[in-house]
């Protein structure tokens, strides 16, 4: 079953530039139903055999699309997200990095009361092993299995998935939620979905410095989760006041430190890996009874 996506996903690509085209092709090769691309002004043409439409609504009506992946550059990305929401898709995953925070705060508020789920922005997307690839993840390193993976970071998601796969532990869904200050799906949303998913037996959660999403997630785990959770927090050695690559990864005003997040998670019964090299082992040990 997995979460968010699967064999039922019919994906369109918003932003068929070089990167959009490249990843559309990889997703197709992985077996994902990539049913259309959006390129205003180029409707009616085809790129790599994928039919192109001018608007999301048109693509949905013509193809039965229910999900979208956004590669549109920052100035138009929030607009692209809202167009997918307006077309009432189930899911929109936004890969774009560098969307102004005010644009996202407004877009997020405009989504209130709508059905569409946003993943990202500034995220690697979603992979359901052997079923569906949305975004930019190297799906080859995944394998089907019982562990849900949710992460604020792209490459660190790959690292965790690779460690699990090397230990022979597969994944139900691999989900990158994005490194921006304002994102669609947060840790709590993802944890709730994994807790409710019968195929998921345990969860790996990868956080980083900045904000308080990990502390909120810890409270959720304590109050609502029966499935074992292992975690890693990146940035234990990050200096305060410096933006560590991601727009959201900054320790500001004494808040957002890794140590506080790790303490909160430990107090909630989460197994916290000290080193990023032992995420897989930590999960394997902590979830031994259910795997």
């Amino acid at each position: 079953m997995a979460i968010l996506a699967g064999k039922h996903t019919r994906l369109i690509v918003q932003g068929m530039g070089k990167m959009g085209q490249f990843h559309a092709k990889l997703s197709l090769e992985y077996g994902t139903a990539v049913v259309g691309g959006i390129h205003p002004g180029k409707g009616g043409t085809k790129i790599d055999g994928i039919p192109i439409f001018d608007t999301v609504l048109e693509a949905k009506e013509a193809t039965g699309a229910n999900a979208s992946v956004v590669f549109v550059p920052p100035p138009g990305a929030a607009d692209a997200i809202l167009e997918a929401v307006d077309a009432d898709l189930d899911l929109v995953a936004c890969i774009t990095e560098g969307i102004p925070a005010i644009d996202m705060a407004k877009a997020k508020r405009a989504m209130k009361g709508k059905r569409t789920r946003l993943v990202g922005p500034n995220c690697p997307g979603v992979v359901v092993p052997n079923q569906c690839r949305i975004g930019i993840m190297p799906a080859k390193i995944t394998r089907p299995g019982p562990v849900g993976v949710v992460s604020r970071s792209g490459t660190l998601t790959y690292e965790a998935v690779d460690q699990l796969s090397r230990l022979g532990i597969g994944q139900s869904t691999c989900l990158g939620i994005g490194g921006d200050p304002v994102i669609g799906t947060n840790f709590v949303d993802a944890l709730a979905l994994f807790e409710a998913d019968p195929e998921t037996k345990a969860v790996v959660m990868i956080g980083e410095i900045g904000g308080s999403a990990e502390e909120t997630a810890a409270a959720f785990v304590k109050a609502n989760m029966k499935k074992p959770v292992a975690a890693f927090i990146a940035g234990q050695n990050a200096p305060a006041g410096k933006r560590m690559g991601h727009a959201g990864a900054i320790i500001a005003g004494g808040k957002g430190r890794a140590s506080d997040k790790m303490d909160a998670l430990r107090a909630a019964g989460v197994a916290v890996s000290l080193s990023p090299a032992t995420i897989g082992e930590t999960l394997a040990k902590h979830a031994r009874a259910v795997l």
């Binding site: 990167m19 920052p74 100035p75 990095e97 560098g98 969307i99 102004p100 925070a101 005010i102 644009d103 705060a105 407004k106 997020k108 508020r109 690697p124 930019i136 993840m137 190297p138 992460s151 604020r152 970071s153 792209g154 490459t155 660190l156 998601t157 790959y158 690292e159 690779d162 460690q163 090397r166 490194g179 200050p181 304002v182 990868i206 980083e208 904000g211 308080s212 999403a213 909120t216 890693f232 990146a234 940035g235 234990q236 050695n237 990050a238 200096p239 410096k242 933006r243 560590m244 690559g245 991601h246 727009a247 959201g248 990864a249 005003g253 004494g254 000290l274 080193s275 990023p276 090299a277």
Partner: protein, 388 residues
């Protein structure tokens, strides 16, 4: 992006946010002229650096005459100012802002930022102006009032009335706060700020409100639509290595260890520092080569890492998603050869085209230590830096 106080105040003024009169000076004579032109009995000479806590470090001084303003300016200009925000190395003062003194009745605190937890804008107000607000929040949280503002609806008059009440302002002052906050909110939205902080916001003996200090941070992601703001950047205020990194579109943060790092992805780059530390080593830098890393960029990244004389070993940790490991490998080989890299090099390639990348490294004839996993890479880099 940060700007100087005098730049922030010029923006405040252009949006109708009340500030004291003032002028920038880069020489003591200019400071004297500025004080004369202001004509107030008291002027304040303020060091212009990108850091708070200037007063405690001796960077803000009161002058009772233009001659005294000149004297203060001659002391402050050229000094290396150390505050709790500059680090022990301090910052060189290149200019001072000479400002009209004012008769202060009360000092308040006001800030406007994005509240990440609720995804609203937040006005943070306190009666405890002029203090370190983090300490106020820790010891007397009841003295901090937070007013959340819906990003679509925007600031409303009732928000201002609630904030005025929290700040214990009278009726005429409440009206003034409404104007002040409306102007500030307009600036925040129109210029894509990430933080506006006024500490202190002053109530004068005449009952007027103005920003005695002003700090503005801008959303880096929005600078593309604000060339006027981007032009305010002062490269002299940035770490020279971070500045060089910015010019070639790399995210770099200098640290004080001996293992240079080149990684793709912010999360993995942070995690690589953690892995090195867990293994008993100390990282020299954070470097995210980004999704577009290719041969040329790898070479530039190496140059940047090697500018740091403390670097005793380099760890390259790449998990290719968008990034192709073969291109990274070509870059590493080219950089190692062209830059005659003398420190040990540990390279770990995983993901897209990793095998091809490893073949390129192995066939280069260069002394490169390969690693398969992150654990192995960190161990080998720490050992190499220790000369083992």
């Amino acid at each position: 992006m940060n700007v100087h106080e005098h730049q922030a105040k010029a923006l405040f003024k252009s949006f109708g946010v009340a500030v004291p009169a003032g002028a920038l000076a880069t020489t003591p004579a200019e400071a004297e002229d500025a004080a004369k032109a202001l004509g107030t009995p008291i002027t304040v000479v303020k060091a212009q650096i990108h850091a708070g806590g200037r007063g405690k470090g001796g960077g803000v001084k009161l002058a009772k005459s233009p001659a005294e303003a000149k004297q203060h300016a001659s002391q402050i200009l050229g000094m290396t100012l150390v505050t709790h925000q500059t680090g022990p190395q301090g910052k060189l003062v290149r200019s001072v802002y000479v400002e009209a003194g004012s008769e202060i009745a009360r000092e308040l605190y006001l800030a406007l930022t994005l509240d990440r937890a609720t995804e609203n804008f937040a006005v943070i107000a306190s009666t405890e102006g002029g203090m370190n607000i983090e300490e106020v929040a820790e010891h007397t949280p009841e003295k901090i009032h937070t007013e959340l503002i819906d990003p679509v609806v925007g600031l409303q008059p009732y928000h201002c009335r609630k904030i005025a009440r929290a700040l214990k302002l009278d009726a005429p002052q409440t009206k003034k706060l409404e104007d002040f906050l409306s102007a500030l909110f307009k600036l925040y939205i129109e210029k894509d700020c990430s933080l506006v902080e006024i500490n202190p916001l002053v109530v004068t003996k005449q009952g007027d409100l103005f920003a005695l200090d002003g700090k503005l941070n801008f959303d880096d992601s929005a600078l593309y639509r604000h060339p006027d703001i981007a032009a305010l950047r002062d490269p002299e205020e940035e770490d020279p290595r971070e500045r060089a990194a910015k010019e070639i579109d790399l995210a770099y943060v200098g640290l004080d260890g001996e293992i240079g790092c080149m990684v793709n992805g912010a999360g993995l780059a942070m995690a690589t520092l953690d892995a090195i530390t867990v293994n008993g080593g100390r990282p020299a830098n954070f470097l995210d080569a980004g999704g577009g890393a290719d041969k040329e960029k790898v070479k530039e990244a190496f140059k940047l890492i090697l500018r740091d004389e403390n670097v005793k070993a380099i760890l390259v940790n790449i998990f290719g998603g968008i990034v192709r490991c073969d291109l990274i490998a070509e870059g590493v080989v080219a950089a190692a050869a062209e830059l005659a890299v003398k420190v040990p090099l540990v390279v770990r390639l995983q993901g897209t085209n990793a095998e091809e990348g490893r073949r390129i490294l192995a066939g280069s004839g260069l002394n490169i230590t390969p690693a398969e996993t992150l654990a192995e890479a960190a161990e080998k880099a720490v050992a190499a830096a220790k000369g083992k």
